[in-house]
Every structure is written in C-alpha cells, then in structure tokens.
C-alpha cells in the first residue's frame, strides 16, 4: 500500500520519514550518468507519486467519457469524479464555494483568464496595474499586453538587495487609478515569501482587487484563500506533484460572476443561436471545451497525497533543507546566494564566481544533480541583481539532507575544475 497516510510517513519523533516517502516516487530511483538522481528542480516541475499515476490509470481504464454531456454511466461517473476533484481543490485552499475553483491549464492560463475576463472589462485608458519586481514573466506579459491594448500603465513595486518588496513604496503606488495588484506569493527565482496578506489588505483599503500567483506557494505551505482575502489565486498542478496541463484559478464569486468569459466554445454556454449566446454559470462559463479530465482528477489525487503527509510537516522538513543548504553554500568561498529574504520557501539561487550558471548546470548534471540554470522566466529579477542568470536548487519534501550535501560537493567540484 502506498504511504499516503500521516501515520505511515511519520517517524516516532514526528519528523518526516523521507526514505519511505521516496519509495512512492518511482522516478527517484533513476540513475543519471551513473549516479543516483538528485532532483533539485522542483520549482520548475515536481515529480509525481505512484498514487497519482494510479489514479490517472484508474480513471482512464474504468471511468472515462466526456463530462457534463451525456446521461450514460461513464459520462456520469467522469462528471462526478471531475467535480469531486474540484471539491478537493476547494478544501485544499479553503475556498468558500466549490464554484470558486475554475480549472485552467495552469498558472499562466489562469492569469490570462483574469487579464481577459476581468482586465478587458474593467481596465481602461489611464488605469494602472501594480506588479512587483519579483514576478514571473507569466504575471508580467499578460498585463503588458492588456496595458498596450487599453492604454493602461504598469507600475512596479521595487525590491531591496535581499529580494524583499518595499512595502512603503508599494503603498505609495496604490492610487485611485489602480485597477489591479498582481503579486507572487513566493518568488520562483529567489524563494522570497511575500507578505501577501498585508499587501492584499493595503490594496483593499483602496478598493483594489488582488491577484496572487501561487504557483510556488501551494507545494510548500498551507494556503487559505479566505484568510489571505485575495480576489484571485492562481496555481499549477505539475508543481504540486500532479499532472501537467491542469491548474486552478480561484476567484471570489462576486468577481467571477462579473467577469466576461475568456474562451468561447462548448460547455461554457446555456443556449446558442446565431444571434445570441447565453453563457453558462460560474465556473463553467470559464471552462470552454473538454477539459483535461484525467489531469484534474489526478490533481485531486495529488491533493490527497500531500494532505496525507501534512502541509505543516512538509513545510518543517523543507525549512530544515533550506537552512542546511544556505549554511553550507554560504561557507563556500566564491559562491554567492541571490535572494536572502527573511522569509523564504525552499529555493536557493546562487552564482559561482567566474563560472557561468550554464556550465555549473552541465557539470552538476554530470554528478546526477538536476538544477535549473538561466533567468528562470524572471528577467527583471536578474536585471535587478545585475546578473544574466543563476543556478537554482529548489527542494521538495522528498529531498534529503544527503542530497543537499551532494549539491555542495558538486559545486566544490565545479570550482576546482574552473580553479
């Protein structure tokens, strides 16, 4: 049986039984270049436990038909499972209502949905969109496209040398022209955890809705959209141990009802004539066409899996990993950690003096270690620190202290070679 229950994944001392958990992830048994795989590229995409694969297979083997369509057994089963997954996601982020969970293809799709559904309706010439300097390109480009179309402007919240947003500057940017704040919960490039609750409250004081990019937060910490009071919260399945091609847009019902549809097509309508279409209700008016049903159900299984371990325990283990990695990498002369925010998720971005991150990445791969190298789709962050790229190790609950040590040994080897 799979180790999906807290009792099985906990050692007597309350810490995570990582070795047992690793057994749930077949890919972690892989050897790369003759070495055990050390997978530290979880911020780009995480690995999938057997339980999620099994769920996908079960659906595809015994439950698949198109949803919300026919009256036959399989269609009804598929619909029930798909809507069941929606309720799992609702509980996962503590949304008030399951209809506030819109399935999208991922975070990018979710943000684009808000840019079209909310932005094109409510943002006009002279209006302003406030973004932080930490945003991923997916929370910049849709807003730039909208701003260009509408004659609106983008305002950017600056960050300090540790990679933290400057809250006073942020408050100054909020004004009567501000129509939306877009901010990342956790920076994918630096790991900074933004004070989103406080920032949302500040925006609401001025009557401004807030979209939170939660792609890097949901795998690492308990997220409660009611507690945050965000208007929109976007995240991806594949970064939280689920399948690719599925993600979620949480939106407050009031906004979702006011928004216009993003994509037109089947399932998002109540009635269609060549003269006029009446749109379906929330959330279906945003889910045109046949959705990735198996992926949605797989994401529901991923929620069950992480709940079985417990977000608090995951967070505690990852904090230990990050602390250990930070301490060890800081000890290496000639290696600089980029992003030293007081509150960080398990992401460690670094540069090695005299060695380009791509060379670091290729040589670490030689040791079986997978890190991401490049600008991490956050070029403004790189520009802020005056560097073209970094190497980034990003951890998940299945990573071990020994893997952190392998990373540090790998960096030492790179330094020696480039000596």
């Amino acid at each position: 049986m799979n180790a999906v229950h807290g009792v099985l994944t906990t050692r007597r001392d309350g810490a995570l039984d990582v070795e047992r958990i690793r057994g749930d992830f077949p890919v972690l048994r892989l050897r790369v270049n003759g070495k055990p795989l050390v997978f530290l590229d979880n911020a780009a995409s995480s690995q999938m436990p057997q339980a999620v694969m099994d769920r996908w297979l079960k659906y595809q083997t015994t439950q698949h038909a198109n949803i919300h369509r026919a009256v036959h057994y399989l269609s009804e089963t598929a619909t029930a499972e798909y809507e069941g997954a929606r309720r799992k996601l609702q509980a996962f982020i503590n949304a008030r209502d399951e209809r506030e969970v819109v399935f999208t293809s991922g975070t990018t799709d979710a943000i684009n949905l808000v840019a079209h559904g909310y932005g094109r309706k409510f943002i006009g010439p002279g209006d302003e969109i406030v973004l932080t300097h930490l945003e991923h390109h997916s929370n910049i480009v849709p807003w730039q496209m909208l701003a260009q179309e509408k004659g609106a402007a983008i305002r950017v919240v600056p960050i300090n040398d540790r990679g933290e947003v400057l809250l006073e500057e942020y408050r100054k940017l909020l004004n009567p022209h501000t129509k939306l704040v877009g901010l990342t919960h956790v920076s994918n490039a630096l790991g900074t955890v933004n004070p989103v609750r406080e920032m949302i409250a500040a925006a609401h004081e001025k009557g401004v809705p807030v979209l939170v990019d939660g792609a890097q937060a949901v795998p690492h910490m308990k997220v409660d959209v009611q507690d945050l009071d965000c208007d929109f919260y976007a995240f991806s399945g594949h970064k939280m141990f689920g399948p690719t091609g599925i993600g979620v847009l949480y939106g407050k019902m009031g906004w979702l009802e006011k928004m216009q549809p993003f994509k037109g097509g089947g399932d998002m309508i109540l009635s269609v004539t060549f003269e006029k279409t009446t749109y379906n209700t929330v959330p279906y008016k945003f889910e045109a066409g046949t959705p990735p049903i198996a992926a949605a159900i797989g994401l529901g299984a991923a929620v069950d899996y992480v709940n079985g371990i417990g977000m608090d325990r995951i967070h505690a283990h990852e904090t230990d990993l990050l602390d250990h990695a930070t301490q060890e990498v800081n000890r290496l002369a000639g290696v600089r950690i980029i992003g030293m925010a007081e509150k960080k998720a398990a992401v460690l971005s670094f540069v090695v003096d005299g060695v380009h991150p791509h060379d670091v990445g290729t040589l670490l791969n030689e040791e079986g270690i997978a890190v991401r190298t490049g600008h991490h789709c956050a070029q403004p962050v790189m520009q802020r620190f005056g560097i073209p790229a970094t190497s980034r190790a990003s951890f998940a609950f299945y990573n071990t202290m020994a893997e952190v040590d392998a990373l540090v040994a790998g960096i030492r080897k790179v330094q020696k070679l480039f000596g």
Binding site: N33, H356, H358, T362, L363
Partner: protein, 162 residues
C-alpha cells in the same frame, strides 16, 4: 554523456579564462551581435577585412565557458583566412556541433576545433558553441547582402548589423 568531462578539457577552460582577441576593434569593417535569449549569452564581434582576408577579429561579451572558448578559438583560427574559408568553417563547425558531420571519419578543416565535438551530446549547449560562428556569418553577410540569416536560422542566434 561521458563526453561532458571531455568537453570541459584544459584547452576550453584555458580559452575561457584567457580569451584571445578579446575586445572591440575600433576600425572594424564588419560587425554583428549574437544573442542567445535562452541563457542570456551575448557577444559582440568586430572584424576587419583586408581584401578578402580577415586581417583582425575581436570578440567581447558575457557568456558561458563553452561560448567564450568557442569564440576565442574561432578568432585564432579565422584570423588570416579568407572570408570564403571562414564561411566554410562556420558550416563545418555547425555540422559537427549538431552531429551532422562525423569529424572522425569525414574530411574537414576544423583541426583543434574538434574539442567542441562533445556538445552534440548536450542539446541544450549546442547553441552556446555555435553562437560565435553564427555571429561571424552575420557579420560577413551584413555587408555582402542586406539580409541576415537570422530568420531562417534554427538557432535564431545572430542579430546582424553592419
């Protein structure tokens, strides 16, 4: 993947540390910039043609070791050669790096540039090695004709300008 270590051999590490012909020519007759948007590699190439020969060539920029060493070794090899010979090398180098030229069994003029043959096993790094060569071709072509090959170039490397 056994070639990775071979790729980072002494000659490449040496050229990375002490790149030859590093800088910008004041009296260049041809120039181009090469940019790899995927990794941020960015190089400037300036050269001076005397007749049809490369009289002087300089490169400067920010890049990884593979790209820098490739650029450095390219300048040492191309200097003194005709444009035609240099363009032939561009083609051969590109073919070697993409695995289309088996440098061990087929004739070529690459000489010690074969130290870069290992990149063909590292798809993500092929562009790093090729970038300087594409930039060289862009520099030549910016004068030879008004179009650069950037559009038809699958590596979308050079941004030509004369």
């Amino acid at each position: 993947m056994a070639d990775t270590r071979q790729l980072y051999q002494e000659v490449i590490l040496d050229h990375n540390k002490k790149p030859r012909n590093w800088g910008v020519l004041e009296d260049a007759t041809h120039k181009a910039e090469g940019h790899n948007p995927l990794c941020g590699d960015h190089i400037k190439l300036t050269l001076r043609l005397a007749g049809d020969k490369v009289d002087a060539i300089n490169v400067q920029g920010e890049s990884c070791a593979i790209c820098k060493a490739s650029a450095s070794m390219m300048t040492t090899v191309v200097k003194g050669r005709t444009q035609q010979d240099a363009e032939q090398l561009v083609q051969e180098f590109r073919n070697m790096a993409t695995g289309k030229l088996d440098h061990e069994s087929k004739p070529h003029h690459l000489g010690r540039l074969t130290v870069f043959s290992g990149v063909r096993d590292l798809p993500a790094r092929v562009k790093c090695a090729i970038l300087p060569w594409h930039t060289l071709r862009a520099a030549f072509n910016a004068v030879a004709s008004t179009t650069t090959e950037a559009e038809e170039d699958p590596m979308h490397a050079p941004i030509g300008g004369a």
